[in-house]
């Protein structure tokens, strides 16, 4: 009963506090929302980039060219063996005939290049797809080491260097985004902290009176923490709305240009768990800002 009453008291005091200074509250919510919109833009950009990485990863294969002496049955047996290697998701046998068909498909009207040849010069190969956790430079290296020297394999071709470069670029972009995110989070923290400090200053008489009648620090501070959390949650909800509208407008206006930029994929907004995490992060930001303000503004009467 006491705990329930206290909870009701805290919520009522916090909402009263927000209502009693609507301008300060609106400014705080607006500023938090603005900061979170900037962070959200980075989050959305990273999300599209991660999508590209996933698609590139799905297309990433290692080709093991087979010696001419390996017939189709031996190739299938070799494929079965390679499929058991750790980190391999699937293995496809590309016969010499299939390789020729693919070449003709790619060469188009330049197939005349093969006219002078008596026999199909293209070797059979195994196209090896990596498991999702292995689609990186080290994963490719491990696979190559495991299958190099297997009887029947003549040559291995892979995009290890390209993958490595791409990964480094992506890691750099992620680090920059995270750094910028941290800067914006810190800015939001300072804003919330200063807003709550103003709220405490505006209600210093109330704080003093509560302390005089024997209220504990927790009793006095909890409504301010709740205020910070509510401001953070309201700011993040507002930011989420703005981001969604902005996202829809950009998708509608840019059309195929955006699809080209992100690798002909469907642009995606935050899903439900991400949106909930965004709002909770806003609330947490508000809470931490309030804590920081309380830490410095607290002076018992």
């Amino acid at each position: 009963m006491t705990s329930l009453w206290r909870a009701i008291y805290f919520i009522r005091t916090a909402t009263d506090g927000l209502r009693s200074s609507p301008v300060t509250t609106a400014v705080a919510v607006g500023t938090i929302a603005t900061t979170l919109v900037v962070m959200g833009v980075f989050g959305l950009a990273l999300k599209q980039m991660s999508g590209i990485v996933d698609r590139v990863g799905q297309d990433l294969t290692v080709s093991a060219y087979l010696e001419p002496s390996v017939d189709d049955a031996a190739a299938r047996a070799l494929a079965t063996r390679v499929a058991t290697v750790e980190g391999v998701a699937s293995v496809e046998v590309v016969t010499r005939e299939e390789a020729l068909r693919r070449f003709q498909g790619v060469a188009g009207d330049r197939t005349g290049l093969l006219d002078g040849l008596v026999e199909n010069p293209l070797p059979a190969s195994l196209e090896i797809s990596l498991a999702s956790g292995e689609r990186h430079e080290e994963g490719i290296e491990r696979l190559v080491e495991a299958i190099r020297g297997l009887p029947g394999i003549a040559e291995i071709e892979h995009g290890q260097e390209w993958v490595g470069t791409y990964e480094r670029v992506l890691a750099g972009l992620r680090a920059v985004s995270m750094g910028l995110g941290a800067v914006f989070a810190l800015a939001a923290l300072l804003i919330v902290s200063n807003t709550i400090r103003l709220a405490i200053y505006a209600r210093r008489d109330e704080v003093e009176i509560l302390a005089l009648v024997g209220a504990s620090r927790g009793f006095i501070g909890t409504p301010f923490l709740l205020e910070g959390a509510l401001q953070g949650a309201a700011g993040s909800l507002l930011a989420l709305g703005v981001l969604y509208l902005g996202f829809r407008v950009v998708v509608a206006v840019s059309g195929s240009a955006l699809a080209f930029l992100i690798g002909h994929a469907e642009p995606v907004f935050f899903d439900a768990p991400e949106a909930i995490a965004f709002v909770l992060a806003g609330a947490a930001l508000g809470c931490v800002g309030s804590l920081s303000a309380l830490g410095s503004a607290w002076r018992p009467a």
């Binding site: 009963m1 006491t2 009453w5 206290r6 008291y9 009263d16 009693s20 008489d205 109330e206 003093e208 009176i209 509560l210 302390a211 005089l212 009648v213 024997g214 209220a215 504990s216 620090r217 009793f219 018992p300 009467a301």
Partner: protein
């Protein structure tokens, strides 16, 4: 009553060699020794700047003395930790000249605040606040905001808030400083009634007529020193 510096077995408040300075060499209080017995009504007098408010602030742990010991109810509060201050203040009622009421809360909520911070259930808070308001004759104004009340009524609300928690000690800092003579007596009668019910009361005032009228023990401060500690 107890003479200056002499510890009594029934003393609620004792101060031993208490000094308070805000700057080196500048004393707000200097080597104060006193003892106040349970249930006493004591006047603390002296000119402005004599140290009356500082002494009261030391008693409700708003400040710590630079030197000396302050014993309240057997506990030395001179070096009380911040976390222990609320429990001390729940044993003390404080009344100020400027009332210090919450303007956005009703009269009843202001009075009930003392009980609410202790976690008492709302029904009990309302019931006790109502009984206390009845004692000070303001039960009919319980739903009003304090700003709609007269100065005398606001001070009665402040006294009700200070007494509703049945404190052992009531500290009043110039409680009638903002009131006309008629209201002054009304407020002082309420404070004296609390003392008659067993609450130890310290009233800081520079109103000589008040001190003479009630003829109680007087602690006189001058330039931070206790120069008179008896009736």
């Amino acid at each position: 009553m107890s003479p200056d510096g002499e510890a009594s077995r029934d003393a609620l408040v004792r101060m031993y060699h208490v000094s308070k300075s805000y700057l080196p060499g500048a004393f707000a209080l200097r080597d104060v020794n006193l003892s106040i017995e349970k249930g006493d009504l004591v006047f603390l007098t002296g000119p402005s700047g004599a140290g009356k408010t500082t002494l009261l602030r030391l008693l409700f742990a708003a400040e710590q003395p630079s030197e000396g010991s302050i014993i309240i109810g057997g506990r030395n509060i001179a070096r009380l930790s911040e976390s222990a201050v609320p429990s001390l203040r729940r044993r003390i009622g404080v009344v100020f000249q400027d009332f210090k009421l919450l303007p956005r809360r009703s009269v009843e909520e202001n009075v009930g605040l003392t009980l609410a911070v202790r976690g008492e259930p709302p029904r009990q808070v309302r019931s006790r606040a109502f009984r206390m308001l009845k004692q000070v004759g303001l039960q009919h104004r319980r739903h009003h905001p304090p700003v709609t009340l007269s100065g005398g009524e606001q001070q009665r609300v402040a006294i009700a808030r200070a007494l509703v928690g049945e404190p052992e000690l009531l500290l009043a800092d110039e409680p009638t400083g903002n009131l006309d003579p008629e209201l002054t007596l009304e407020i002082m009668d309420l404070i004296a009634a609390a003392a008659a019910r067993g609450t130890t009361v310290v009233v800081a005032t520079h109103d000589r007529s008040l001190v003479e009228r009630y003829a109680r023990r007087v602690l006189r401060l001058q330039a931070g020193e206790l120069i008179e500690a008896g009736p």
